[in-house]
């Protein structure tokens, strides 16, 4: 599995080794799209195990060991709540919980595949790939900005929470006593600081030509490789196995 892509990496001179071993962002996007279409569609339940296997393999390929273990475990727990719990405890309330768990299970299955895309794709790679797939610029630019900005909001939120704790306005006690005030004290600074970051980010990006009328190029134009072929083969095998079962 490793020797072929490495050889490919050596042939494409000037590229850092390891880049060729990873999936093309287009392949990753198609995997997410395909697995959500199949799993979320009516009658998609039989495909859930296949999607989870795919998620685990992708996690292993990027070295995310924790996810590779947690994804099947979480899914198994949710699946137990969905299918075993109603058999053990036949109450109406449990039926409601089980229906919700069955719904959640589909999200977990697709989530594993989607996390791989989010964790291994940089905004520029994604735009380059989407562009190569002839997606209009309005969509590629906003997708890139969103991918860039989500982690920023998370960072800002953590910082605001820290500041609230030190000011003595955070914590569960305050939250229960003054829920609205607590939410206000969290969201106002969060929005203010996120906006300031967003302003700098968009000013810098616009000056550096993001969204300009020129057709952008890529330092390393995306190319489909052996890894992508392997991924397609794997998915075909998983689908066939599910159907034949």
């Amino acid at each position: 599995m490793t020797s072929a892509p490495l050889a490919l990496a050596e042939r494409t001179a000037g590229r850092p080794a390891g880049r060729a071993r990873r999936l093309d962002p287009r392949t990753k996007a198609i995997l997410v799209l395909a697995s959500s279409l199949v799993v979320m569609a009516p009658g998609g339940t039989p495909f859930i195990p296949a999607a989870i296997v795919l998620g685990v393999l992708l996690a292993l390929s990027e070295g995310a060991w924790a996810r590779a273990v947690l994804l099947p475990l979480t899914s198994a727990a949710v699946a137990a709540a969905a299918y075993l719990l109603p058999m053990a405890l036949p109450y109406p309330v449990i039926g409601f919980v089980a229906a919700f768990a069955a719904y959640l299970l589909r999200f977990a299955a697709v989530g594993g595949v989607a996390l791989h895309l989010l964790r291994t794709t940089t905004p520029t790679e994604l735009t380059a790939a989407l562009r190569a797939a002839r997606i209009p610029r309005a969509i590629t630019t906003s997708a890139a900005v969103m991918l860039r900005f989500l982690p920023t909001i998370a960072t800002e939120a953590r910082a605001v929470r820290d500041a609230m704790r030190l000011r003595g306005v955070g914590g569960w006690a305050g939250m229960l006593r003054h829920p609205v005030l607590s939410i206000e004290r969290f969201t106002v600074p969060l929005i203010a600081s996120s906006l300031r970051v967003a302003e700098d980010l968009s000013a810098a990006a616009l000056l550096r030509g993001l969204g300009s009328a020129t057709r952008p190029t890529a330092m390393h134009p995306p190319r489909l490789g052996v890894a992508d072929l392997a991924a397609v083969g794997l998915v075909a095998a998983l689908v066939t196995a599910t159907v034949l079962w």
């Binding site: 905004p123 910082a159 000011r167 600074p189 203010a192 810098a204 000056l207 993001l210 300009s212 190029t217």
Partner: protein
């Protein structure tokens, strides 16, 4: 190269203009420094040069601006971006990609340059700007100084004729400032036109062709590079400017400390008296150890500066001291166990990004939130409002204030918090001479009342004036 004539600019929603009859010419290949007190229009002048005013920021513009002979008003932002490279005050906010290589390529990719040429220029940029050592690491994991280097390289890779810097040294250590100075010297040698807005002036001696003092949005006075280097400190003080000579090597006492993270040998450990004691405190992120202190003692009643290069674990230590960061080891206050949640209740931080800690709807309410209620607090509050120039804005919404005013507001709130541990994380970035002194006074007062005052700073001027003790950290070698 840059020709500004009779410009008056008012931001949408503001009542007074930020630039008022500004006229300024910058020649091709010239290096010009813009200085002046907070709110004098330095940042707005830079935005005028790269076209963010009026193409990005909204407001009312009169007068004319020409860049390379063309009217800025008639150019689009990406056309302006080909002519200018801009480095903002917080480089980490302007990064669009995750790594140095892609960040350097970003502008050229968007401008549609051929891939071959992009790879060539990016490789050259990484080499010239000294990024080789950390080119593979994630940008968010780099130290402030390294991020600054990447931002400079990214602004220059597409070879724009004009480069603009907004307070480039506000968060840099002395060593990082030296590297930045070398970058400037190289850009100058390449005949780039460079404009820098700065408060700290000492590193610009011998590099500036011209120093322009702005006041109330117009040119107040100008010096040539030679004239500037002969000015004495009194002349600068008269203009409210920071010193142009490097401050004398500060010599605060060494704080007691021992361990891989501590950069000085402490003689014997005689930790006694009140204050915070650390035992075997260490902290790691993703398996990488960032802080390891065998033992250290931070005395109450004095200002202890935590110094060291970017990436030595200064902010991590501050977060541990205020209970925000999980860690290994034990911390004592006045000899008794001091748990993480106790530290959260006893600690206060003035963060680097102060917008994150403004919670209420007026300046006065902000000062009363979470403040202790001892006798004399009311008087103290009124005195602080005057001292820190916040009296005229006491009823305004904190988020409507300027960056400098917000910073002073958070400093004032920390003063009134009545906490035992108060941390100031780079409180002087973007602060002019007068306010530097009032912030120093706040720290001294807190120490005078018996608090453990921690100052994290690279600003040697602030260090000289404020710190009694210094705990110098160093990055842990892997």
């Amino acid at each position: 190269m840059i020709h500004i004539e009779g410009v008056r600019w008012t931001y949408a929603g503001a009542t007074t203009p930020s630039l008022d009859d500004l006229t300024l010419d910058v020649q091709r290949g010239e290096t010009v420094v813009l200085c002046g007190p907070s709110g004098s229009g330095k940042s707005s002048a830079l935005r005028l040069m790269n076209g963010l005013v009026p193409h990005f920021h909204e407001g009312r513009l009169d007068g004319s601006v020409h860049l390379d002979g063309r009217a800025v008003a008639d150019l689009s932002l990406d056309q302006l971006g080909r002519l200018t490279g801009t480095v903002l005050q917080h480089p980490r906010r302007q990064f669009f990609t995750g790594r140095s290589e892609t960040e350097l390529a970003f502008a050229m990719e968007n401008f549609g340059e051929p891939p071959e040429q992009i790879r060539e220029r990016v490789a050259a940029g990484i080499d010239e700007h000294g990024l080789t050592g950390f080119a593979g690491r994630r940008l968010q994991d780099l130290s402030g100084g390294q991020q600054q280097q990447v931002a400079c390289a990214a602004a220059a890779t597409h070879r724009p004729p004009v480069l603009l810097f907004d307070e480039p040294t506000s968060n840099l250590s002395a060593a990082a400032i030296e590297r930045f100075t070398a970058t400037l010297a190289r850009l100058r040698a390449d005949r780039a036109t460079v404009v820098i807005a700065e408060h700290r002036l000492h590193f610009l001696r011998g590099l500036a062709d011209r120093v322009v003092v702005l006041r109330d949005g117009a040119v107040h006075r100008q010096w040539s590079g030679e004239q500037f280097s002969t000015l004495d400190d009194d002349a600068l003080r008269a203009e409210g400017l920071r010193s142009s000579v490097p401050p004398p090597r500060p010599k605060p006492l060494r704080a007691q400390g021992l361990g891989p993270s501590i950069d000085h040998d402490t003689t014997s450990m005689t930790a006694s008296g009140t204050g915070v004691t650390l035992h075997a405190v260490s902290c790691a992120f993703h398996g990488r150890r960032v802080l390891d202190i065998e033992t250290a003692y931070l005395a109450a009643g004095v200002v202890t500066a935590i110094t060291g290069p970017n990436g030595a674990g200064k902010s991590t230590l501050a977060r541990i001291l205020t209970g925000l960061q999980r860690h290994q080891g034990e911390i004592l206050l006045d000899g008794r166990r001091f748990t993480r949640s106790q530290r959260q209740r006893a600690g206060s931080i003035v963060m680097q990004d102060v917008q994150r800690q403004l919670f209420t709807d007026t300046v006065e309410a902000e000062l009363r939130l979470g403040a202790s209620r001892d006798a004399g607090q009311e008087q103290r509050l009124q005195a602080l409002l005057r001292d820190l120039d916040l009296d005229p804005v006491r009823d305004r919404h904190p988020l409507s204030l300027s960056g400098g005013q917000q910073q002073r507001l958070v400093v004032a709130a920390a003063r009134l918090s009545g906490r035992r541990i108060v941390v100031f994380d780079e409180p002087s970035s973007g602060v002019d001479r007068r306010h530097l002194h009032s912030i120093t006074r706040v720290m001294r007062d807190l120490a005078g009342e018996g608090a453990v005052v921690i100052l994290i700073t690279h600003d040697s001027e602030l260090l000289t004036h404020t710190a009694d003790q210094e705990l110098r950290l160093r990055p842990i070698s892997p």
